[in-house]
Amino acid sequence: MNCNEAGTLVACYADGEIVTLQGRSIERHLRGCAACTAKHQAVLELRARINAEVPYFTAPPALRERVRALLVNANDVAAARPRPQQDRWRWLTGGALAGCAATMLAWVVGTAVIDRHANEDVAVEAVTTHVRATLNNHLIEIASSDQHTVKPWLSARLDYSPPVQDLASEGFALIGGRLDTLDKQRVATLVYRYRLHTIDVFVRPEFAHAPSALRTLRGFNVAHATGSGMDWLAVSDVSADVITAFVQRLASEAASR
């Protein structure tokens, strides 16, 4: 394969669109060609910067409410259609019930089921806290991508000073922090964005019941790392290897300072 043939395929390769034989011949070409390697690198660099710097906007709670309201209306209309005259009270209560059920379902399922296990161990508690913060739209109390803003804010509210690092260059953009209670103690929570995912990282001098290995709970991965007198507990729906690498990176970064 020459540069001409590699041409547009380099971007396809960087986008993960080529995996089979063609991928291998591109890999071979990249190894021997500085120009195409730079092109490939450029796509990856741009992607890393997009992940770190281009915000993923999430729907405001008010919009979510309005959509739910649309849904309830649509449902009322649909329910009213078959028997417009008789049983009016029935569809009225039915519609109201469905409305209540819809808005409350997420809360009941989201919180009640989780609450049942809340005291099992710190990993379960960490997932619960992460889910609650997400559901309540209360991920962040201090919004900043600047570690020098987040760290003093947290230190002022805790009896220790948690290490705060922004790893945006590696795709993990710090978006802010908040305070939580975990393992019956106040804890600093750092919030990172990785692609479409939110990662909560709980930082404490020591967690009494930290999980020794990676845990997967209700689809969330919980990874733990320790070093230089601190404990990191990360919770997210990112893949197991990503979260493990990330939490270890945080610990080693803190140790190197």
């Binding site: 986008d15 730079a38 997009i50 710097e53 405001p60 008010a62 919009l63």
Partner: protein
Amino acid sequence: MSQHTRFEDLVMPHLDAGYNLARWLTRDVNDAEDVVQDACVRAIKYVGSLRDGDARAWFLTIVRHAFYDWCKRNRPAEIVKGDGTAIEMAAADSAMDPERAAQRRGQSRLLADAVAELPLVFREVLILRELEELSYKEIARITDVPVGTVMSRLARARGLLQRSPFLHAIRGQVAGGER
């Protein structure tokens, strides 16, 4: 499954994706909400025809349609720009707009600005690829063009970002590879 539960189960999880796309297409908080709301009205109506597997792509297609309808009514000039000839001009215009320049100094969001300045057809494929992480095939289906067009638009979008005057850091890194 009722229409209501189908929407709740299949579409609601992708509300953020729909909003993010609308937000990047309209580049405005309120307009994005209008577009998403309009899209949801349509989605509720047609949710019966949705197959279970590809709810996100399905919903994003609807959001995109809702956006183009909204755009025709409110900003018809933008759609014409999509042919690619106005690109370099679009970048230059915005570079000189003092209000935007002032905003830009206020917040260090250079790359995000450069993305927002991309002409519509390039912006949408970039957002779908880099923020939604969709495949070429899915993007082709959503934007209703052949896969080859997705590839060339994506390449143009990346080229524009890499050469963007707002992106000195990236330009420095790329210069060696392109020349």
